[in-house]
Symmetry: C3
Subunit: 138 residues, 3 copies
Amino acid sequence: MVKTSHKVLRAYPRGFHIITDIVEAEVRESGIRQGICHVFIQHTSASLTINENADPSVRADFESHFTRNVSEDLSLYLHNMEGRDDMPAHIKASLLGSSVSVPIENGKLQLGTWQGIYLGEHRNHGGSRKIVITILGE
Amino acid sequence: MVKTSHKVLRAYPRGFHIITDIVEAEVRESGIRQGICHVFIQHTSASLTINENADPSVRADFESHFTRNVSEDLSLYLHNMEGRDDMPAHIKASLLGSSVSVPIENGKLQLGTWQGIYLGEHRNHGGSRKIVITILGE
Amino acid sequence: MVKTSHKVLRAYPRGFHIITDIVEAEVRESGIRQGICHVFIQHTSASLTINENADPSVRADFESHFTRNVSEDLSLYLHNMEGRDDMPAHIKASLLGSSVSVPIENGKLQLGTWQGIYLGEHRNHGGSRKIVITILGE
């Protein structure tokens, strides 16, 4: 069985944000009890990853790490017409990835205790973002 | 339903290259209308990722970013017998990943407007590369 | 068909470790001949990736690369109460990823000749780690 749903996320500020509840709701609604939940972001300057769901300082440290490690010095880039945050956003999107996939059992995401699904918004003003949730299983 | 196909990519120069059309052709041929398309590269010094499909300068900036950020200084590595580009290629392959997966609906990859599938060729002379395309769905 | 299994890995030292055989055993046991094997780690300070399976110096160079490139300077982090290795471990987990997925054909993982599945243990004393193996196919 396959269930696909499209969601439009509200505009988030640059940084990392937990969207686990949006994905969990789709799993519940799908009726699929066992399988895989795949979440895909249809953008090249935002990303999806899984990390710590409790302390907001982890998300702040993600933002400062990636800002330090992916330079915003425009002189380093050829693709520089869309602002200092644009090319670095593309690189961060590929470092972190455009999808996450999580096992489902007993109708629930099998995330570890401390795991949540992060949206990485890498643009200063990224606007709303579209995701596709695909649930495969039985 | 599952469809698996093996493809041999021609040798590409070091850098990032768009291979979306090769994957799209397999989706079309599979007859699968809804599900997931998984693309896997059977190598440890090349990678797959999803990023901007229009401006070639983005792919050039990917190459310069990863060359800057993953050192080719042989003195940093124990695994140094296969050339200055070898160990960095392994690291880049894991930073970017050995697979991408993309939702399928109405028989089509649900990529965003600006998304394409990149082959990351991280060796100076990587030769041809083998990928496996697996399409799961209905 | 879907088969899900939970495994508890023994405690590994900080660094990168090959766990391919554990995954291969589940594929064999599942009886699934064609599809995808998805491996997921239920932790935010350890990761899964695919890389070179032969020379142990590659795994040592992975460890030294990620230690160099993800700073352990506590002054850079807000989330600093669980030790110098904690916040860097979270970042490495997202750089490398919480899951890998590998095609299956003829009942076997379609890894390339030189590919193995790595556990990335990013804590100094991470303890045992839980993984979930989901096999989808026919």
